[in-house]
């Protein structure tokens, strides 16, 4: 009884005070409860893919949003994870439960390599140079078709679980765990350093931060998460093909990231959960099916014209305000800050827009 009351208190005081936290809770509970309420295989399939891509998008955000290393070749890590795991389980006959970790580990190494090569680059140079890496890997795969399966990729992989529900839970739970871990990491002191590197690398180095080490580390972490997603993807679809390394996938993750709002972690995840099912759903209509990528692109363009900072920050600013004194967030309906009691509404008429941001 005590624990129930304590949990309820925590919920009331920490979660329900902020609409964004309430939304996140509803999302988590909904995600976990969905198969029990509505076990349609098609819906589960789409949501499994959505979860896998959500890991991928969140890992891009840690690298591009927080650290400012806008990676145009993030598909490299996804593809390396997929191919490593697929090849190992197929050629060595290992269980997919093991090879997924191997895929993530090799992706981590590739992240170290790319990070090392890109240490001296910054800004647009880095973006355009990173675009090259997955294409180099793709060229190598096509040049050795005996090993990699060439255009067809390696097929006939084993699934992690037999039932759709089992696969869904694997994807959903690993997504929740990885996204939460990335969010914790980004919110910690480590994340603060990443913000500093993005905003002014020279100043960060002058403050005694070994920016090179941090950049390498963040490349490795993001790559490991993306490689894990890639390995899950390969074993879920039972094929690791060249599409995991294509430019289209690299661009796709950039679109998710920026559409959702960079440097938030939850933004790109929300973007995947909106955009991916949307495009899949659109492809159900025969008339629209051919146009789904077009509709996707137009939606992205329109959303950007109205909320250039991305979807999640825009929504957050609509439903919450920031306390001008203690910088904590409050629900829109509050007139005084819930923590320090400072008035949230502007005291001088017409100065409303100066408060908060």
């Amino acid at each position: 009884m005590y624990w129930i009351r304590r949990a309820w208190g925590e919920l009331k005081n920490e979660v329900f005070v902020l609409p964004s936290r309430t939304l996140a809770l509803i999302w988590v509970v909904g995600l976990l409860a969905l198969p029990m309420a509505y076990g349609d295989a098609y819906v589960l399939r789409i949501l499994t893919m959505t979860c896998i891509f959500a890991i991928f998008a969140a890992s891009w955000d840690l690298l591009a949003g927080y650290t400012g290393q806008v990676n145009f070749g993030h598909a490299l890590f996804f593809g390396v994870g997929a191919y490593t795991s697929g090849l190992m389980s197929l050629k060595l006959g290992l269980s997919p439960w093991l090879t997924i970790w191997a895929g993530a580990a090799v992706a981590l190494l590739s992240g170290f390599l790319v990070g090392y090569l890109c240490l001296r680059l910054r800004g647009s140079y880095l973006s355009l140079a990173t675009l090259a890496f997955p294409l180099i890997a793709l060229g190598l795969l096509f040049a050795f078709p005996d090993f990699s399966g060439g255009e067809l990729g390696i097929s006939g992989l084993r699934r992690l679980m037999v039932t759709p529900t089992g696969n869904y839970y694997v994807a959903a739970l690993s997504m929740l765990a990885i996204v939460f871990a990335l969010w914790l990491l980004a919110d910690s002191k480590f994340g603060l350093v990443l913000h500093a590197i993005r905003d002014d690398e020279v100043a960060a180095r002058a403050s005694g931060i070994n920016t090179l080490r941090y950049k390498m580390m963040v490349f490795a972490i993001a790559a490991a998460a993306a490689g894990f997603a890639g390995a899950l993807f390969a074993h879920y679809l039972r094929v690791a093909g060249p599409s995991t390394l294509e430019v289209a996938l690299s661009f796709q993750v950039v679109i998710w990231g920026i559409f959702g709002g960079v440097a938030t972690i939850y933004g790109p995840v929300a973007a995947v959960f909106i955009l991916y099912p949307l495009t899949e759903w659109l492809s159900n209509f025969p008339a629209v099916g051919e146009l789904r990528l077009l509709i996707f692109a137009v939606i992205v363009l329109l959303v950007l014209l109205f909320m250039p900072r991305g979807l999640a920050p825009w929504v957050r600013d609509k439903i919450e305000t920031q306390c001008p004194r203690c910088k904590q967030r409050n629900g829109r309906w509050k007139s005084v800050c819930r923590l320090c009691g400072a008035p949230l509404q502007a005291q001088v008429p017409g100065a409303q827009r100066l408060v908060g941001h």
């Binding site: 806008v70 090569l117 001296r120 680059l121 800004g123 647009s124 140079y125 973006s127 355009l128 140079a129 675009l131 090259a132 890496f133 294409l135 180099i136 793709l138 060229g139 190598l140 096509f142 040049a143 002014d200 690398e201 020279v202 430019v247 661009f251 950039v254 679109i255 920026i258 559409f259 960079v262 051919e290 146009l291 990528l293 077009l294 996707f296 692109a297 137009v298 992205v300 363009l301 950007l304 014209l305 250039p308 900072r309």
Partner: protein, 289 residues
């Protein structure tokens, strides 16, 4: 084989130079990484194809009309899509990606995904140093040379060119000196896209036209621009020739070279970047704050 390499490298280098210089120009002046650049090249090729096969206009006329139409269209796109989000660098980036996807899907929807062939605009070939060069490829080379000369003239001998170079050098100071930087940016967009459109029109008879033809030159173009140094025109020209020759050598001299040509070109870019992070002719920018 040596002659083949020499000629192919030069012709491909010419096309890449047209694309890369346009991209470089717009990055230098407006700081826009225009992913849709080669999508305009694809649009021009489709426009040329339609005019040529449906209306029966001559080669020259349909070529000129396609370049003009695509250039005009690009300015409209710039005003409607890019300009409203100019302050947000990330938003500009994804806006250009989305634009390219829109074009690709529109072409896919209206023309279908299959390859379209355009009849050669010039028949016959000439022999030069023992290799036969089709006139079509010679035309690409001549047009590329002429366009480069025109761009050089506009940039270095006209007042507009002076304004463009000044804006590329320092946007704020150029603005303070009374140049209308918005109009300069628009003019740059027009010039740069017209270069891409010219490239699209001249290569259409040699390559096949399909909705995904913008992807592979996009990657090569980005490699060239980074190799030569972002925003440097001389670097783009030399980078285009380097990559053109490297691709030709890989295709002719290495087994399974056709698969590897992109990878080798990109590898060269990575190596150059390791030695000189700002590219061959790029200026090492002061830390921008």
């Amino acid at each position: 084989m040596l002659q083949d390499i020499l000629v192919t490298g030069l012709v491909n280098g010419g096309v890449y130079a047209l694309l890369a210089i346009g991209f470089s120009l717009i990055f230098g002046v407006a700081r826009i990484v225009n992913i849709a650049h080669t999508a305009f090249y694809m649009l021009a090729a489709y426009c040329f194809y339609t005019l040529l096969t449906k209306t029966g206009l001559g080669f020259v006329l349909s070529g000129l009309i396609s370049v003009g139409a695509v250039t005009l269209f690009s300015v409209v796109c710039y005003r409607l899509v890019i300009e409203p989000v100019r302050e947000h660098e990330a938003a500009v980036l994804i806006a250009t990606i989305a634009l390219a996807l829109v074009f690709q899907e529109l072409m896919l929807y209206s023309f279908g995904g299959h390859f379209l062939g355009i009849p050669s605009t010039l028949e016959g070939s000439m022999r030069f140093l023992g290799v036969s060069i089709p006139y079509q490829r010679l035309l690409i080379l001549v047009v590329a040379g002429a366009m480069l000369a025109i761009v050089w003239f506009v940039l270095y001998r006209t007042r507009l060119g002076l304004a463009i170079r000044a804006t590329a050098n320092d946007l704020e100071v150029a603005n303070l000196m009374g140049m209308n930087v918005h109009r300069v940016a628009m003019a740059t967009v027009a010039i740069s896209v017209s270069l891409a459109a010219v490239a699209g029109v001249v290569v259409a008879p040699v390559f096949v036209v399909d909705p995904f033809m913008w992807l592979s030159p996009l990657v090569t173009m980005l490699a060239i621009v980074v190799l030569g140094g972002l925003g440097s025109l001389k670097g783009s020209l030399i980078g285009a020739l380097i990559i053109g020759y490297v691709e030709a050598i890989t295709v002719f001299a290495v087994p399974a070279g056709a698969y590897l040509k992109g990878a080798v070109a990109l590898l060269i870019m990575v190596i150059v970047l390791l030695a000189r992070p700002e590219g061959l002719f790029g200026v090492a920018f002061e830390e921008e704050r």
